[in-house]
Symmetry: C2
Subunit: 453 residues, 2 copies
């Protein structure tokens, strides 16, 4: 890890950035294979846009021009103040409204960008971090099968990050739990959800007290709510277990059917566990159906690293409503702890697979031409900085983790070049128009180290 | 172009973003082939870092936390105020100092990121834009051949963007012009350079007056300076033409040799014109040797879209000095006018090459599985949103620019699938485990339209 000279603004060393790029490239590949189009939105939004859901407690960084000529040159009312976006959902909703006439619905987009939170500096809190979001948004109505699609695409993307510790994509449905809570006679549904949502932070008996004292449930009602929250399964077994609790409600039936469809739809996904987990509620967020959270094995204290769900109204412009379903992966939140704990690393800090050794200073243009022949076949190559003794040049490659040193042969005698694998010491004759390193040496690799816990 | 609802903060539609991604991918590939490592720096720097060269006129966006609890919670002195970076050079210099112990020198890095300028809203001025920088930095001494390397790498990268209007990478050398100006007896070298630097904005006679009236040259001295500035060549012819002006100075000799080496080193680059242009001075910037600018044919009013040069001290930490050479491509500045004028466009707004037609709603899981077989071979595929009449589904594909519609055959009779190229209307039998579209249809392409001027 590099020296972090500004709390909350993480930076990576080059070898770590290769890992991050490998993650982002895989995400992008899978999102595009499923027809998701790339967009970026500007970093700044009008403050009233950022706070439009009335959440005045958002941690926003406001922008002010250093060169504002006078105090009057600064925006006067809050509606022209700019702030940095704190997520990618709010700016995406604004982008959809701004560009509705140019977009085809249902509109699938992915968006991989930095977001900022104007937090007080605090250990473990990021003030700048990267998110990778996918959403599908429609005009007026979005069929339910897109919930299954979003779950499948993100599950497949997470499954492709095979160097991560095991991931568990947890799915629930707001209709299911709301129907259940209504079915047992609860009246303050929001209070029940907020209490249940705290189950991963506080013991069940504390939540039980909150259900009776804050949400107004009887002891029996609280008990059955906790029983519901205890149900999880990677197959459709959860349906029977919910039914066995004996609660009846139309919303519950609708939610059970939707959740079953998502779990069934993800059955063929490899590399990640997808499960129905009936304690997932997503607290105060404005979800109306499917909800997602994701936990990383051995890193449960991070909380959910990939969350989302179905909105009935991602955006509205007065004439139309745009329902959406989406999920957001916290890339920085996921990777930084793995770098810090030495779980993940890049295999080298440079892209170069080959260093061309420089016999004499006046061989530079010959060595440059040689390097260019290797590059033209996709082999990242650099030429030694100085014509030092070969031993020194090999150590230069070693310090950078460059696996191969190329020794140009006699300029007048083609076929006299050799290449040395400096790890094994093996040195062989090589043709610059034909030689290829093994696939694993061609680019920096992601190294996963199992750490003792 | 999308609706731009906030002046100076450009956004792209998905088809345009594909073009930008194609540009960024090619840059990245070439930078990495030459051994340049990727880094990103945080968006924010302490204000005193941003202004450390004493340039208090920089257009900086300052950050302020919305949730600052009290006035006292805001930073008190200017040295703890944060601002968004306005280029990638200042944060890179800070990154090198912060991480010097973790880096191997010479350190080659590329950095592709957004930067911000806290400008007054104004037509044609960007307040958020993307730059792509490469730099090579060393500890204490950086051999001159890295100037040639930087020129070659950026020239090769620009040459790979074959869909752009013709580009001209103009190279000059500060030693050359400073030596020349000293050789003719000029004393205020800075004033001479600033006057010459205005040649692409004002007529030569105005610059001539500035040379005599502001820089204190005689008419004869001014004339020979303008003669120097008029010299350009894509080969080494410029050397003789400078010599023919009869000026003698050691610095001039050194500069001529360096400039000749850069021009000679770039002789084999294709797709971009590299020329010595002796009017290039880079105004007030802190360059000490090689300087670069780049102009795009037919878009000269944009000024230089890719500039840089050699610094004797990119950074210094008291113990060591870090000389560098680098060049910065203004990606947004380059692409936005081309989008606005219809010169460049993406071939479609979605990655999808294939739409799977949905015969009936209960065929969805069969169609999903079919789509997955195509995706597993790298073909971006989406499944129709609803089981409408096939004519409607084909129009749905048409509106998105998806070139192929796949018609699943009889579920019980393998080999009955067909695929239709909806542009030609041609429909053929197809095997989902073997069929491939032509390379050009696989991903959105960059379309270049020659516009009448």
């Amino acid at each position: 890890m590099p020296t972090t000279s500004l709390s909350g603004f993480p930076e990576l060393l080059p070898s770590e950035r290769f890992v991050e790029l490998a993650v982002l490239d895989r995400l992008r590949t899978i999102f595009e294979l499923h027809g998701f189009a790339p967009i970026e939105t500007r970093a700044a939004e009008p403050l009233e846009q950022l706070l439009r859901k009335g959440e005045i407690d958002k941690e926003v960084y406001l922008l002010r021009r250093l060169q504002a000529d006078t105090e009057e040159d600064q925006p006067k009312s809050s509606d022209s103040v700019l702030g940095l976006h704190f997520d990618l959902t709010v700016p995406f909703a604004r982008y959809v409204i701004d560009n509705a006439g140019h977009l085809q619905f249902p509109f699938r987009r992915y968006q991989i960008q930095k977001v900022w939170r104007g937090e007080r500096p605090q250990t473990g809190r990021y003030r700048e971090f990267t998110q990778a979001d996918i959403d599908i948004v429609a005009k007026d109505a979005l069929p339910f099968h897109h919930d299954v699609e979003i779950a499948r695409v993100m599950a497949e993307a997470l499954g492709a990050l095979e160097f991560l510790p095991p991931l568990r994509l947890q799915v629930n449905n707001r209709k299911l739990i709301e129907g259940f809570f209504r079915g047992i006679g609860a009246t303050d549904i929001g209070a029940v959800m907020r209490a249940i949502d705290r189950l991963d932070k506080v013991p069940a008996d504390v939540v039980g007290k909150e259900l009776t004292q804050v949400a107004g449930l009887s002891d029996a009602q609280a008990t059955v709510c906790l029983q519901l929250a205890d149900i999880r399964s990677t197959d459709l077994a959860f349906v029977e277990r919910v039914r066995a609790l004996g609660v009846q409600h139309d919303l519950l039936d609708a939610g059970l059917a939707e959740l079953a469809a998502v779990i069934e739809g993800c059955a063929t996904i490899n590399g990640v566990t997808v499960e129905a987990d009936l304690r997932i509620a997503r607290g105060l967020d404005y979800y109306t159906g499917t909800v997602f959270e994701t936990r990383m094995s051995g890193h449960e204290s991070l909380g959910s690293i990939c969350s989302g769900g179905r909105y009935d109204a991602l955006a509205t412009d007065g004439k139309s409503t745009y329902p959406g379903v989406g999920i957001s992966l916290g890339v920085t939140r996921l990777l930084m702890p793995l770098f810090q704990q030495g779980v993940l690393a890049g295999s080298r800090p440079v892209p170069s697979a080959v260093l061309i050794a420089l016999p004499h200073d006046d061989d530079r243009s010959r060595c440059d031409a040689l390097a260019q022949r290797l590059r033209s076949r996709g082999i990242a190559t650099e030429v030694a900085a100085a014509a030092q003794k070969f031993g020194k040049q090999i150590r230069y490659a070693e310090r950078r983790g460059i696996p191969y040193v190329w020794f140009p042969g006699d300029a007048d005698e083609p076929g006299t070049d050799t290449v040395k694998d400096i790890r094994s010491g093996e040195q062989v004759s090589a043709d610059p128009d034909a030689w290829l390193p093994p696939e694993n040496d061609l680019r920096p690799q992601v190294i996963m180290q199992r750490v003792e816990r």
